[in-house]
């Protein structure tokens, strides 16, 4: 039995989870976004009886299906990796975290699996109404699935509705409503799903633009652009709104993440928001007095407004969070990281004392230890932290990811507005430049989504569960070489499947919709 956890094991386990999650998130947004768009198109077919909309919906469904399969494959690995690579985590919070996963399986996965089969194979076998219902239920199932997994993820960022039971040595759920309806969960769900809708909309506009450039399937392309542009604009505006809500929640619950997102080392009142900035590579420590930026453009007071809804509010920086001593909202002074580590170690020692006292049947000692544990439990995870600097996430990674996400979010709003206006004026089909712009915007949707997840996950390091469990205490006891081996197996395998996925998509797009004439989109007999 090894005495200390190998640091490289933690890094490789994190890398493996990140790899799987990032691959998974390449496919899920399209399922969520394109699923709604094709359902809208089929609804139009159902209401009008126009075969053109049936063929159009079927074409997008074909692309949906190619993407759907690989999304399922990566999702399977992701679910089981909680157990395979994060076994301590699975016990420590499984009582809370497992429930959303099980509910996801019962309520969402079966809905998806059942009705996706009807959606693909049910044409002509079931009634139009049942088919349409199945299409909506497929995307409904996918969205409900997203809801529960995002509730679970939000709980890791903001653990609520639980208490620690020293007898079972785990956290136990005491308030399901607090877990399911926490403000972090609601914002996270809305922000993430809406951003997925944007990916779906960009995908449709981009592929449709390719047809316009090639002068093929013009009617189908323009009709698809119209649906996707309206859908994308609504989604992107709502994403902006929920993004603001998410950022506010981060400011309240994860101030270190917010400081990293903004590269804010020294807090102040009335802090500006960095619009664009280049970070200084010479800055290597939070307290080295080196200016963190080579260049930046700030919007005055905006970070204070976003974080506290008050232009003059104080926002702590990384140094403040490590050193403590700044005033909290309740008037107390913030603890330093070192003080939190001490209290965390006190909580862990109290747990050991409690277990021993119970074994020895010493009720007085058990009661004293339990009280000490409860008094210090909110810092429990800090007890596993050896050095305060471990509490600082990668600032450059978080900063750039956040700003890429925000800038692209703004770009998408502009793109959808322009696309919608040009479609309305009947000029989208003639102007090559907007078609090219729309076509090459496709990867940007994916980059934006990935960047968002990097902010959410890398920005909260070292915490697997905020303040309660750092990654070094959440791990499975495996050899590093085992995790390295599976990492590369997954990497090679997922990359091959991604190339295959893109290859099949490209072929399917080149072939075009079945049953529609290539030049004028009349129905082929």
């Amino acid at each position: 039995m090894i005495e200390n956890i190998d640091i490289s094991l933690i890094d490789w386990s994190r890398a493996q989870f990140a790899l799987t999650a990032m691959y998974h998130w390449l496919f899920v947004p399209l399922t969520l976004g394109l699923g709604i768009i094709q359902a809208i198109m089929e609804t139009v077919y159902y209401r009008t009886g126009n075969e053109f909309w049936k063929k159009t919906a079927q074409f997008w469904m074909k692309l949906f299906g190619i993407n759907f399969a690989i999304g399922i494959a990566t999702g399977l690995i992701l679910e089981f990796e909680f157990g395979t690579n994060w076994s301590n985590y699975s016990w420590f919070v499984g009582d809370i975290f497992g429930a959303p996963l099980a509910i996801e399986g019962i309520l969402a996965f079966f809905m998806e699996a059942t009705f996706v089969a009807v959606m693909y194979f049910g044409w002509g076998k079931v009634s139009k109404g049942f088919h349409l219902t199945s299409t909506w239920l497929t995307v409904g199932g996918a969205t409900i699935s997203a809801l529960w997994i995002l509730i679970a993820n939000a709980w890791m960022q903001y653990p609520v509705g639980m208490h620690f039971n020293p007898d079972t040595v785990r956290n136990e759920m005491v308030d399901f409503g607090a877990v399911a309806f926490s403000p972090v969960a609601i914002n996270k769900f809305l922000h993430t799903v809406l951003s997925a809708w944007i990916v779906g909309a960009i995908f449709v506009i981009s592929i449709s633009s390719w047809y316009l450039i090639r002068k093929r399937h013009k009617d189908m392309a323009l009709a698809s652009i119209k649906v996707a542009a309206i859908f994308g604009l609504v989604a992107s505006i709502l994403t902006l709104w929920t993004g603001d809500g998410s950022a506010y929640q981060v400011a309240q619950k994860q101030p270190m993440k917010l400081a990293a997102m903004e590269g804010l080392y020294k807090g102040d009142a009335g802090v500006g928001l960095v619009g664009i900035g280049i970070m200084n590579p010479a800055k290597v420590s939070y307290n080295d007095q080196v200016n963190p930026f080579l260049f930046k453009i700030e919007i005055p007071n905006m970070l204070s407004i976003l974080a506290e809804r008050d232009a003059k509010a104080y926002v702590p920086g990384i140094a403040d969070l490590i050193e403590g001593g700044y005033p909290l909202k309740d008037g107390r002074l913030a603890l330093s990281a070192q003080e939190k580590i001490a209290r965390g170690q006190k909580a862990i020692q109290a747990l050991a004392d409690y277990r021993k006292a119970v074994k020895d049947k010493d009720q007085t000692a058990a009661s004293f230890a339990k009280n000490t544990l409860e008094e210090n439990f909110s810092y429990f995870g800090y007890g596993y932290v050896k050095n305060p600097t471990e509490l600082i996430p990668s600032v450059k990674l978080t900063f750039y990811s956040f700003h890429i996400m925000v800038i692209l979010g703004g770009y998408f709003i502009l793109l959808f507005i322009v696309a919608l206006i040009m479609e309305k004026k009947k000029t989208f089909g003639q102007k090559r430049w907007i078609q090219e712009v729309a076509l090459w915007s496709l990867p940007l949707g994916y980059i934006c989504g990935q960047a968002g997840w990097v902010v959410a996950e890398a920005g909260r390091q070292p915490w697997v569960i905020q303040d309660i469990l750092p990654s070094n205490a959440a791990i499975s006891q495996l050899s590093t070489s085992s995790v390295q081996a599976t990492f590369f197996v997954f990497l090679i395998f997922f990359t091959l499947l991604l190339i295959a996925d893109i290859g099949i998509m490209v072929k399917a797009v080149r072939k075009g919709p079945d049953g529609l004439n290539d030049s004028n989109d009349t129905i082929n007999s």
């Binding site: 690989i70 690995i77 076994s87 497992g98 099980a102 399986g105 079966f110 399917a508």
Partner: protein, 383 residues
């Protein structure tokens, strides 16, 4: 509250058992894949087989995922101990299912990079390896696994991991225990028997029908050899019993036989299940125009496996015994979620009959039109 808690623990073990039983039944998809080239002799026949199982594979996949999720939620100590410890077995099982998930959709599509034959080979690998590995993993519920659980370890700042594996092979050693492999092979041949019955029911093709009937006899014999050997071993072996007064785990002769005898309802379920499987097979062999064998054998499979799961966990039995440290063995009581969580989850489980109802409805709606050569040629969405 204590009695309600115990009831909820038993209830959730029942649901886990039911999910496990449904999963074994749905492995007919894997069984069908494993015979892709032996039953399908030309491209059209292979296409019919792929489209037949291809419209059901997601049920198997989803049941596996839900089985994992439900285990996580209701018995998190099993989830953390087994998945984190028997790492290689679970990773292999997952990889088997990953290659399956894309293969149906990709195999016949242009631009699929690896070629049609590769994806069909993936389906065959999944068809053979998944039932054997899952059966082998389930057999550890009776034969034990090499793990240790020490909750105090959480207070060790250097090494706070509570569940550890006692061998460096991380689960692979289970495949070298004959009785584990025996159940794995029984599940594998059962999945093939079920697949043959499913094809008889689902595909309208004279050649496939005749070949499935011919194949049914050797597959049934092989299934019965391994299944009966395992059941005989199970009934005669010493089992991992739990003393309800002090939660101590100890070895008890003929524990699983006693479990059946002390729980007559489970015994009846087991016997009904075995009879159902045999009726499904024998009737299909005797009356070659009869196509309902899959339903009898399917229900029989669910009942039989359900009974086996129940005797693994109910009646004061350690369902995941530790060979490395007997007292680390997992029981329903020491590994389950809290009272509150089980209660919340139980409310959610009320929806399960509704889920089963819409699955049945959708399945039936699609299966009203049987698969034939014209159907797979004309359907734009066929695999």
């Amino acid at each position: 509250m204590e009695s309600t808690y115990i009831l909820l623990q038993q209830y959730w073990w029942f649901l886990i058992s039911l999910l496990g039983a449904l999963l074994v039944f749905l492995l007919f998809v894997q069984g069908g894949q494993s015979m892709l080239f032996s039953i399908g002799r030309n491209e059209t026949q292979q296409k019919m087989l792929i489209n037949s199982t291809g419209r059901k594979w997601e049920f198997t996949f989803t049941t596996l995922v839900t089985f994992g999720g439900a285990f996580f939620a209701s018995f998190p100590l099993f989830y953390s101990t087994s998945f984190g410890g028997a790492y290689w077995v679970w990773i292999l099982i997952l990889l088997c299912f990953v290659i399956q998930a894309v293969s149906y959709e990709y195999q016949a599509k242009k631009g699929n990079l690896l070629g049609k034959r590769t994806y069909q080979t993936f389906l065959i690998i999944n068809g053979i390896a998944a039932p054997i590995l899952l059966g082998t993993a389930v057999a550890t519920f009776f034969n034990g696994a090499e793990f240790l659980v020490h909750k105090e370890q959480l207070t060790d700042l250097g090494m706070p991991v509570i569940s550890t594996w006692a061998t460096p092979y991380h689960g692979l050693e289970a495949a070298f225990i004959f009785w584990n492999l025996c159940l794995g092979l029984a599940v594998f041949f059962l999945s093939r028997v079920l697949a043959l019955l499913y094809f008889i029911n689902n595909i309208n093709d004279v050649n496939i029908d005749a070949r499935c009937h011919r194949r049914l006899i050797p597959e049934t014999i092989l299934f019965l050899v391994f299944f009966l050997a395992f059941v005989f071993h199970l009934m005669t072996m010493s089992g991992f019993a739990v003393n309800p007064d002090n939660n101590e785990v100890f070895m008890q002769p003929n524990k699983y036989l006693l479990n059946l005898l002390q729980m007559p309802a489970v015994l009846i379920v087991f016997l009904l299940g075995v009879v159902g499987v045999l009726v499904g097979i024998i009737m299909s062999l005797v009356k070659t125009t009869w196509k309902k064998g899959i339903w009898f054998a399917g229900v029989g499979t669910v009942l039989t496996v359900l009974a086996l799961f129940l005797i693994a966990g109910w009646n004061n039995t350690a369902y995941y015994p530790s060979l490395a440290d007997l007292q680390s063995s997992l029981t329903i009581r020491n590994s389950c979620s809290s009272f509150f969580t089980l209660k919340v989850m139980s409310y959610v489980s009320i929806l399960i009959p509704f889920v089963l109802a819409y699955i049945f409805y959708a399945w039936r709606a699609l299966d009203l039109h049987k698969i034939d050569s014209d159907e797979v040629k004309s359907n734009d969405h066929a695999y």
